[in-house]
Subunit: 100 residues, 2 copies
Amino acid sequence: MPIFLPKEPSRKEMLMTAVLYALSDEIRLGIVRQLAAKGEQACGVFEVDRPKSSLSHHFRVLRESGVVSTRKDGKTLLNTLRSEDLEKRFPGLLKAVLKG
Amino acid sequence: MPIFLPKEPSRKEMLMTAVLYALSDEIRLGIVRQLAAKGEQACGVFEVDRPKSSLSHHFRVLRESGVVSTRKDGKTLLNTLRSEDLEKRFPGLLKAVLKG
DNA sequence: ACCATAGTTCGATTTTATTCGAACTATACC
DNA sequence: GGTATAGTTCGAATAAAATCGAACTATGGT
């Protein structure tokens, strides 16, 4: 089977509850904060006390909710925060979450 | 056993992840929206397609995270959104959630 | 071709949440 | 005291999430 990155929802498809749920976990929130601080990052750079299969699960939750976008770049997957989409869809939300 | 309303966290004790989690459920988010729109409300006025034991569970999650405060008034429990505490602790968050 | 690296997917297990009925507490009213 | 109302608590069942190792895909380098 080929690798399928789960389809990322369009801006309009983003659900408030799904976004809040994705952000309601310490690990995922940590990832989001780091993406906000450092910009595009590969999955592997996150120092999380979990095996990569677990990390991969958390990235999937972030992607499926629309919080993070992922693109392939050679051997690695580069993740970005969908700040602009989030801001358009849920104005002020991401900023408030990142502040806290 | 006496009825214990779970202790509501102080402003400082509120956790971002717990608040986001509490808000990440359609039923609870509906309750929060209605409280925001109509102010203090008894548990019973919410028209939710769930038995009262389930509703009670959702109110508990809202209370324990700090989103809602509950006071007794005779026979009923009156719930309020802790808007001010939330705004102080997580500026902009509640407003952004209610907009979406 | 071979090996290493990056990350996903699968499958099984464990943990955590939700759900609901039934029993309970507390208050109000007659 | 008895009855009704409001909502909680308990306990058990179900559902959903998280966790992790092992197998896998894809790419890059030698």
